[in-house]
Symmetry: D2
Subunit: 332 residues, 4 copies
């Protein structure tokens, strides 16, 4: 089918290419004309602005917005709302906060427009591996867009079927689901990312313990100088903790067991934070997901004010003068 | 090669069968004569006791002990030490504490015996899927036993090769590694299980947040009634958090999305606890692995004494009389 | 000075009494006429409704709202805004969310009204011990209300002066501060409560460890049957961890070392939750405060869905059938 | 009574002085002859070595060992055991691990010697404020030493009596308890320190949140530039979270609100670690105490290996190139 795509960064460009490979017609726009030209070479129709994109599509139009969450997505959707017509569809494929989805959909509904939120996982590998999609929206609209989702999804591929899975929605096995009404797609994707943080931190802590088993702080007889590249590789085969994240870890460690190229400064994004806020709203204890987020916060500071305060108290009651150390680079 | 196997529970019996499928000769013993008879039918040589097992093997003898960690493993190894001869090998394939390995090996060395510790992952699936093995011991002894490990390991199978993995030990790709000296095998397996706890808890918390998004404690407009079976299925394909544990989760949820057969009472084993102790010895922050262990501790109690104390303090300063509630079954 | 007080629950009634003891004139209102009559006996002027309260006060009027945070506070302030005149002051002495303060103040400002937020700590002891107050608002308005705050505050009392405290605001030593603009008072009070949760949980966990040192799960030679009442008492004198919360704990344990009257079901309130949300907004790792909140969430459930999921995975990979146990009451 | 004291560091010297103020006769030894001379000036009898100390005391001798826990305490007790006679008493007033106490007492018992473990809290303030003591040992030996404990303890002082405390051991109100058999004293002191870590971290996190409320990462309208010195001071009066640790915090912040003299590098000691190991042995969830310990571990590193691994994974799946930032000094 014919679809507009706004935002031709890594994700948007690859989604466009995957769609065109399967014969969908793509009209594309990006503030970077180079990005537009790049896609035109691959067969897309470039649009000079939002208005011309809308003109180039047939009613009911479908436009996929693939921009960073926040102001730019908000502004783009607002502009589209002004340019599109009753029955048209705006798809937010980025990482918007699900409460923003609900608010926007209500506002668009007043103008007769439909809104669909798609949580999209797959990263840079998605163009070939396919995108895992979690979709929120009205049933008939989601069904109408099915050809798009079908193309973008990974399909069953070589992954084993889940035993005892009968009478369930067959789309899940293809790699996409209609999660529920507007907001449900991004909500599920948000929790997906929250889990991702937790899984990553579990591996990180485990490898940290392996690495520091060679520490000279330990009695010599209890030290092991372990080969992390081999350990990550062996766990990929037959162990309980094999996963795609472990595959990536094994790949990074195979290149450099010390990971010297990385500073240890780790970013976080809205989804990890919103997951904890959702847990708090629901009164669900989520210790692991929260600790994973906090580890990233901590990674970005040389020290916290709180840590200075601990030292101040220790001096207060015990006269301890904390070592004047600057922090040590452990685990290098 | 010829090998003795002591302990014919689920793991020991399946290991024996996998070895025999590949033409190794197995002499087996278990305190249950039925278990011995079962394996005899499949081609093993049954032994009536440890002494006759030792007699039935050729020097240098190799005996694989596959028993629960703790007293029974300790006693069995001690008994074997009395019955075996200089140059013989005892393999502990169970889940012993690595410091016990180091102590035992030192004691066996005085008698000229060798000790090898093998951390074995694979559970009930290992007989067909193969066992992921982490091995500690002297290099020549581990090399001598290589035919055994090669048979038990999964092999490369259908799992993709890790990119950029060159110049590394090729055994890791086959699913087994010589991790280091005695103790290193169980140490690596211990951390493996620590990570396993963390991964499991990350999924558990995430699904808890999904489940409680239908809670009537939330404003109605913000509730979603999500289909957990479909969500776990879709994440298996193309998402960043796909893993074998997720495959198992999808299978359980496909059978019953409410998991009503489970009480929520969760056991833990030595390895999860020792991982935290190792982290503490190494001064490695391991918040996620620890929280995962503590969640299991908490799952086995109706309430803690600490929680009563919180209520007592609240009444003390605020006159709050905590609800007389018995705990509620949330998330059913 | 003359002041109106709305909300005559435990906190509002005691605040009124402490004000009247110091010769302030109080006009009071509560939806319960009994509550109003009770205060009238003590010397207050009862008001039949908000309008008559406003009439009974002299411009610039000051009205202290002491109601549960949320809708009732919101509605009351809105109603007052309709009845009061330019230059009048509304004081929210409850536990409102500080972002609500900022929003309300902006709205009231358009009508020429002033808004002051007062975080009030002291609980049921405040009438005699005084109230610790954290105040947000315009400087001249806060200064105008100083006689009220001075009366309500504890004063220096018998508490030692802080050494080296020179050139600081003398009000802090009296037990009240002007924390900053509107919202700052409730923000500081919010963090106060977040810390309170953390302190409480630290004691709770410590006493849990003491209590379970008698557990029959431990080797007999390592068990101690400790007297928690005596331990809490001794720590009150000369130890590093003496505190008012410990005083309350000692009092509760002196009455019943088993705390049998408490179920272990522990409520939480908005402030503990908002503190974590503030930490997330600021990217401050706040592991302890969060864990304290989550411990309360967990205390109110018999089990979590996540725990069932752990059992399902364990069965999936290991064939473990978790014990059918209902949770045990530990530490009774 | 007459008593020997070994180890004249800050704690040992002050204990000696407090004992002499109350007319006890002290025979003292330290490897530093200056330390011994310093106490001789104050009235103590110096001993040149352990043997002469033993000679200078009367049977049954009591010697208080006040040395850093670990090898030096172990060696000293062993040496004393060789020099002392049946019925004599060794008191370990340091911070030994309680399992070491149990082992030592069993060994000393074979020689007819008694062992008493005293957990001592009070730090540099103890000489005037008194020491809070938690004592483990045989009842008649602890009773025999009562004059020593009575002198060292704070006594009731100006601290209010706990309401409803009837029929309990009166020693607790004086600031010392006989906690149980050998080991119980240090066990209770260990948990005391575990709680101490938790309390300190709760304050540290709270003040971190207050401090970062001025962060330019927040929307300007939501920033507050809070005065931490005044906040810590006001919480000392009438608030629920007043404590001795808060008093010390207020004192440090009064001197320098930025705590610029402290690096944020925070040490931990054995007791914090052993508390977590005890929690694990007892299967008690102790999230807050553990997080407090881990925060200190983290404070001593520039970054962890685990954090680098997070970045490596992020690059693996998303192509994210983490900022090359060196960590920032937040909260200065």
């Amino acid at each position: 089918m014919k679809i507009g795509i706004i935002g031709l960064g890594r994700m948007g460009a690859n989604i466009t290419r995957r769609l065109m490979r399967d014969k969908h017609e793509c009209v594309v726009f990006d503030k970077s004309t180079d990005a537009v030209k790049g896609l035109e070479k691959d067969g897309a129709t470039g649009a000079a602005d939002l208005a011309s994109m809308v003109k180039a599509l047939d009613a009911p139009r479908a436009i996929w917005v693939m921009l960073p969450s926040g102001k730019i997505t908000e502004d783009t959707i607002e502009a589209l709302a002004g340019a599109m017509s009753v029955g048209d569809i705006i798809i937010d494929g980025g990482n918007s906060f699900y409460k923003d989805d609900i608010r926007r959909a209500a506002s668009l509904k007043e103008k007769g427009l439909h809104y669909v939120d798609v949580g999209t996982s797959g990263g840079i590998w998605g163009i070939d591996r396919g995108y895992c999609m979690m979709i929120g929206g009205e049933t008939e609209i989601v069904d109408h867009l099915d050809p798009i989702f079908k193309t973008l999804a990974p399909g069953i591929g070589t992954i084993d079927k889940t035993p005892d899975r009968k009478g369930h929605d067959p789309r899940a096995e293809q790699g996409y689901i209609h999660a529920g009404p507007v907001g449900a797609g991004h909500f599920v994707k948000m929790v997906h990312n929250g889990i991702e943080y937790g899984l990553m931190q579990a591996y990180a802590e485990g490898f940290d313990i392996l690495r520091n088993k060679a520490s000279t702080d330990l009695p010599e007889a209890q030290r092991f100088d372990l080969n992390l590249a081999d350990i990550s590789e062996v766990w990929r085969r037959g162990s309980v903790i094999s996963s795609w994240l472990l595959d990536l870890t094994a790949s990074a460690l195979a290149k450099d067991e010390k990971l010297a190229a990385y500073t240890g400064y780790v970013e976080d994004s809205g989804e990890g934070r919103w997951t904890i806020e959702a847990a708090i709203e629901e009164a669900v204890p989520a210790e692991v997901l929260t600790a994973s987020l906090f580890a990233r916060f901590r990674s970005r500071q040389e020290h916290t004010f709180g840590e200075k305060m601990l030292s101040a108290m220790r001096q207060g009651f015990g006269g301890h003068l904390e070592q004047g150390h600057t922090p040590v680079a452990k685990g290098d």
